[in-house]
């Protein structure tokens, strides 16, 4: 009755959100600090254009998802708010309770009754910062040291079709394995990625994420479905709603008291 798979599933929710979260393009230009080859830049430019078109000025977003671990019969609700480089997420799992995580612009944290209060460090903190950045792909060099073109591959999409995809490799600035992203040559949109998500204690969990069912919300293409495969675990995520430029309630990004004590100690 060991529930490790469920735990890992909960941890991997972040992976699904990481890939599926819309990244905003202010202008299709990149900072010059990191290394990116011309082919990669063209693929990434196209992806950003395909996803965001001319949509600008997103300051905040709220997203609700249902995440299912079919093999365990578990469906959980995830709500995430991002605004001004800060993030707050609550995962509600029937039978387990609430699991909260966030980034307040300075401290990345997680807290729940089972895992206790935790302040993020290293790769986990770096990934949390990136997840809190709506414009992350615009200034990718804050999170990656380089982007390189790794050829093209046939990829099975979420819908079960096979498409030709351009493969880009993103080298995380916190080290570790490169993240590989697969962009459809037909649509320019992301269809798959492989990489690692950081956990506590320096753990790095491998994952493969396939996304699909793109729908346009306020001019932005949002992948409404994703499938995460990590080790023996398979997790599906379905976006329920996405809202942009919302009114963010006061205190949304405040640290829980025990986390604040920990962060201050």
């Amino acid at each position: 009755m060991n529930l490790t798979r469920k735990t890992l599933g909960a941890l991997l929710i972040g992976a699904g959100m990481l890939v599926a979260a819309p990244q905003m393009l202010e202008t299709p230009a990149f900072a010059a600090d990191g290394e990116i080859d011309a082919k990669s830049k063209a693929v990434l430019d196209r992806a950003i254009e395909a996803q965001f078109g001319g949509k600008k000025n997103i300051k905040s977003m709220k997203r609700a998802e249902k995440v299912t671990i079919a093999s365990q019969g578990i469906t959980m609700d995830v709500e995430m708010i991002i605004a001004d480089g800060r993030m707050a997420s609550t995962t509600t799992i029937p039978g387990l309770g609430e699991m909260k995580t966030g980034y307040d612009g300075n401290v990345g944290w997680s807290f729940n009754q089972m895992m206790g209060p935790s302040v993020m460090e290293g790769a986990e903190l770096s990934q949390s910062k990136r997840q809190s950045d709506i414009y992350a792909d615009l200034h990718w060099d804050r999170y990656y040291t380089s982007v390189s073109y790794a050829g093209e591959e046939d990829v099975e999409t979420f819908e079960g079709d096979t498409v030709k995809a351009d493969v880009l490799e993103f080298a995380p600035n916190h080290g570790g394995a490169a993240e590989r992203r697969f962009y459809s040559q037909d649509t320019g949109l992301l269809v798959k990625s492989t990489g690692e998500i950081a956990g506590q204690g320096g753990a790095m969990f491998p994952m493969t994420v396939t996304v699909g069912d793109y729908r346009k919300i306020d001019g932005i293409m949002v992948a409404f479905q994703s499938k995460v495969r990590a080790g023996p675990n398979e997790i599906e995520s379905s976006v329920q709603s996405v809202e942009y430029n919302i009114n963010v309630p006061a205190g949304t990004f405040a640290l829980p008291a025990e986390v604040a004590d920990l962060a201050g100690s």
């Binding site: 009755m1 798979r5 039978g95 089972m114 209060p117 492989t194 491998p206 008291a257 025990e258």
Partner: protein, 446 residues
């Protein structure tokens, strides 16, 4: 709704019959095969071989020449003239791993599982007693005061002779004969205990030898189990019973029947800690606890461990793309921990997460463990059905405690072993609890 206990029982029975099935296979008495059955056995062998190759957490498969094993054994499956011969080859393949939780469960034994389940609980009734194998006898070990067994006059130390007309001695003999993963004492405790199951209001007839060595026929009318029902995912609902109280000398005592319902249970544990912050010591009773949600272990340890950066343990799995990876389970101390002595009570029916928690506390030097060695059943495993109808059980992750030791098939060895005796139980004693209280009291007086 069935209880988790019935799930545990099914797993235990499956494990027991796993060995029995192997023995049955050796007997070679199954009928000759049709061409279709032969093909299904070969297909099943391939599924077993592929599954282990792809899902085992160690890509080196514990150093086994897996291709060589297939080349050697697959032709034998093709040539097998009975299902038992074919199964024996699949079992031989898995035995090369030299690890537990890998085995073939013959299709016929599913019928036996169903039969055993029918003999055990199928409802939410509760008899209010626990059984343990002591030497050759199944003894009443714990009787919940004012529970159905107690009201029927049953007391600790009584010998159970039969339940629902079935001799207990034959169960003991059968469980000792099989070459399963679990200790016979664990299997007997769970299976015999489950025979006192049923629906509330059901009457269970049993024969005992009482404290005066007199034979007693007793009918126990089942009641609703104490605790609140809880479940998660596909896990059937189970009553989650928590007992938090203060023993003599102000020692705090916390009993948990199963690791479910973390919002309520961990809330109650937090309250228990706050109520006993100045206690001379705490006792956590995990005897008979079949496990559950692993992170509830950290939810408890976080209140007992001050030092940051410690691990409860590590899971190792394998990703199909990236290969092996580790999943450390971290301890994140709460703001105000309990820093006094902690004793943990375990026994042969402490399974899975109970073992993980007790080993975790033992490894970081935060608890002294009393009782009997645990079951040694900590690997996450699953069972799938093969094309030939047999079951195939396989583990998909390994677990090591923070001290680096594997618990699987070994269990947790208590710091202080407190063997159960009929005499102690008849006189109202609880050797593990008594020893733990004595230890804490001794520390306090110093």
């Amino acid at each position: 709704m069935k209880r988790a206990s019935s799930v545990s029982r099914a797993v235990m029975i499956a494990g027991a019959i796993l060995g029995a099935g192997a023995l049955t296979g050796c007997a070679g008495t199954s009928p000759a095969l049709t061409d279709q059955e032969r093909a299904q056995n070969v297909e099943s062998f391939d599924v077993v071989w592929e599954t282990v190759r792809e899902r085992h957490w160690d890509p080196d498969l514990n150093g086994v020449d897996w291709d060589g094993a297939r080349d050697e054994l697959r032709p034998r499956v093709e040539a097998a003239t009975t299902n038992n011969e074919a199964r024996r080859q699949m079992q031989a393949l898995l035995q090369r791993l030299d690890q537990s939780h890998f085995g073939i469960i013959p299709e016929e034994t599913y019928e036996r599982i169903e039969e055993e389940e029918a003999e055990g609980s199928s409802g939410e009734g509760w008899a209010g007693l626990d059984l343990r194998l002591v030497d050759d006898d199944v003894l009443v070990w714990r009787v919940r005061e004012s529970g159905p067994a107690y009201e029927a006059g049953v007391r600790p130390g009584w010998i159970v002779r039969s339940i629902k007309g079935r001799e207990v001695a034959s169960l003991v003999e059968a469980m000792r004969a099989v070459d399963g993963i679990e200790p016979a004492s664990t299997r007997v405790a769970l299976i015999a205990g489950s025979r006192f199951g049923g629906e509330p209001g059901d009457s269970i007839d049993a024969e005992f030898i009482d404290g005066e060595d007199e034979t007693r026929q007793v009918s126990i009318v089942l009641a609703e189990a104490p605790g609140e029902m809880a479940s998660i995912g596909e896990l059937p609902a189970a009553p989650v019973d928590v007992v938090a109280r203060t023993l003599d000398g102000g020692i705090g005592y916390f009993y948990l029947s199963i690791f479910l319902d973390p919002p309520r249970v961990l809330g109650e544990f937090q309250q228990f800690i706050e109520d006993h912050r100045d206690a001379p010591g705490l006792i956590i009773d995990l005897r008979g606890n079949p496990g559950g949600i692993i992170l509830m272990s950290t939810g408890i340890m976080n209140w007992l461990v001050q030092e940051r950066g410690l691990r409860l343990g590590t899971m190792k799995m394998r990703d199909p793309v990236r290969g092996p990876f580790e999943f450390p389970i971290m301890i994140n101390p709460r703001g105000t921990t309990f820093d006094g002595p902690v004793a943990v009570l375990i026994d042969e029916a402490s399974i899975s997460n109970s073992e993980i928690l007790s080993a975790g506390l033992q490894d970081v030097g935060r608890a002294r463990v009393f009782g009997a060695r645990t079951a040694g059943l900590v690997l996450p495993s699953t069972v799938i059905r093969l094309p030939n109808g047999d079951g195939f059980q396989y583990a998909f992750a390994s677990y090591t405690s923070s001290g680096g030791g594997a618990l699987e098939a070994i269990g947790v060895t208590p710091d202080v072993e407190t063997p159960l005796t009929r005499e102690a139980l008849l006189s109202g004693g609880d050797p593990a609890l008594d020893a733990a209280m004595e230890w804490i009291s001794g520390l306090d007086s110093n």
